[in-house]
Amino acid sequence: MKKEWPIWEIFIRSKNGLEHRHVGSLHAADAEMAIQNARDVYTRRQEGVSVWVVESKHITASNPEKSGELFEPAKDKVYRHPTFYNLPDEVKHM
């Protein structure tokens, strides 16, 4: 039998109140082992209070060659930012 353990992406919440963040990946035979390994590899110095593991093959990524058409439309929409609007300095708390 020759089978490589699948790759898992690891997400860690460093403390309650913060979101889980992607920290890296590792191999494990199943989800339970992925959590165990993530504990050993990514939280040896108390870096986390919660772990998510997702098998890499379940992640769909946007295509970098299509980044232009995906993200550029937001570029010229400066009116979505507060600094676009001219108000006199006397206006406070806005």
């Binding site: 039998m1 020759k2 089978k3 490589e4 353990w5 790759i7 890296g24 990946s25 590792l26 191999h27 035979a29 199943d30 082992m33 050993d40 590899v41 040896r44 110095r45 990524a61 295509n63 970098p64 060659e65």
Partner: protein
């Protein structure tokens, strides 16, 4: 080269020049990919093989304090290997292939780990000098152009500084001990000094990859620059220990603001690279045994996972 790929290469270089990072799914020249697979995997193998000379001393550490520290350090190195293998895998090579390259002797790892660790003082010298040299290289690599490699380096650098400090503390304790203990520290420095300088690789004029690596911002400094930086920072640390660096040509050069040092025995370096170091065969044997003896565990884990998955399916059905 056709026009399309020339344009792609120019665009790629422009992104690098602008200081952008390259990510796994981005277009990259085949040579950039290959160079990275080689460099990152060599780096990973070095972390893994690097556990052997130190693992050798865990059961013989002189106190519980030293033992837990050394154990934690060796465990960190396993983690470093894993971060780096993961980074290499983003470039389209599998973990099994990487292991095969290491175990068959096809892949290289840092030659320093082909030297034996003979006394407890070697644990001090390795942490101080070998991790010290590695840190200099790795700090530079946190700014490398390939994103997954750079991120692995940031994580690694955070963990490395304890490695060097625990090594230096071992040296310090020995140097403040008996005559015999201090002699042991000096002996370790004598044996590890020159191989540590060789860790930065051949001299710039003999390093054919340097130019391309600098252009692609894989490296930000040359081998000789890094080596000089290491010497300049380490000599005062040796002075503080009251130890003598085994180089009679070593002296401060006011004009350069750096230490001049004697010639490195490159013949020895190449000889170890070619596989004729004191421990090359022993290291590979240990790696192969670990891999072979772990096979039943890897297989059993897969069998268990498959069985659990089947059960889930049949329950659902």
């Amino acid at each position: 080269m056709d026009n399309k790929s020339r344009n792609l290469e120019e665009e790629f270089q422009a992104r690098i020049d602008a200081g952008e990072n390259i990510e796994a799914k981005d277009w990259m020249p085949e040579k950039y990919r290959k160079t990275h697979i080689r460099q990152i995997s060599q780096h990973a193998h070095s972390e893994v093989v690097g556990m052997l000379p130190e693992g050798n001393w865990i059961t013989r550490a002189p106190s519980l304090r030293r033992k837990v520290a050394l154990l934690a350090k060796v465990q960190d190195e396993a983690g470093h290997g894993l971060y780096l293998y993961s980074a290499a895998e983003t470039l389209g090579i599998s973990r099994d292939e990487l292991m095969e390259q290491l175990n068959s002797g096809k892949a290289k790892y840092s030659s320093i780990f082909n030297y034996p660790s003979l006394t407890w003082a070697d644990m001090g010298a390795i942490g101080w000098l070998v991790d010290g040299a590695a840190i200099i290289n790795q700090v530079m690599l946190t700014k490398t152009s390939y994103g997954p490699y750079a991120r692995a380096m940031v994580r690694i650098c955070k963990e490395e500084s304890f490695h060097q400090r625990q090594g230096y503390e071992i040296m310090l304790t020995l140097c403040n001990g008996t005559e015999a203990q201090k002699a042991m520290a000096q002996d370790a420095l004598n044996r590890w000094w020159w191989p540590s300088l060789m860790m930065f690789g051949p001299r710039d004029e003999e390093s054919p990859h340097t130019e391309q690596s600098m252009k692609w911002k894989i490296k930000r400094k040359t081998n000789d620059e890094l080596r000089q930086q290491f010497i300049d920072q380490t000599v005062p640390q040796a002075d503080l220990l009251g130890l003598t660096i085994p180089d009679k040509d070593l002296k401060w050069n006011d004009e350069r603001g750096s230490y001049d040092f004697g010639p490195i025995d490159w013949e020895e370096f190449w000889n170890v690279v070619k596989g004729n170091g004191l421990c090359n065969r022993k290291r590979l044997k240990a790696r192969n045994e670990a891999w072979d003896n772990g096979k039943w565990v890897r297989d059993a884990a897969v069998a268990y996972a498959e069985k659990q998955a089947e059960r889930k399916v049949s329950k659902a059905g």
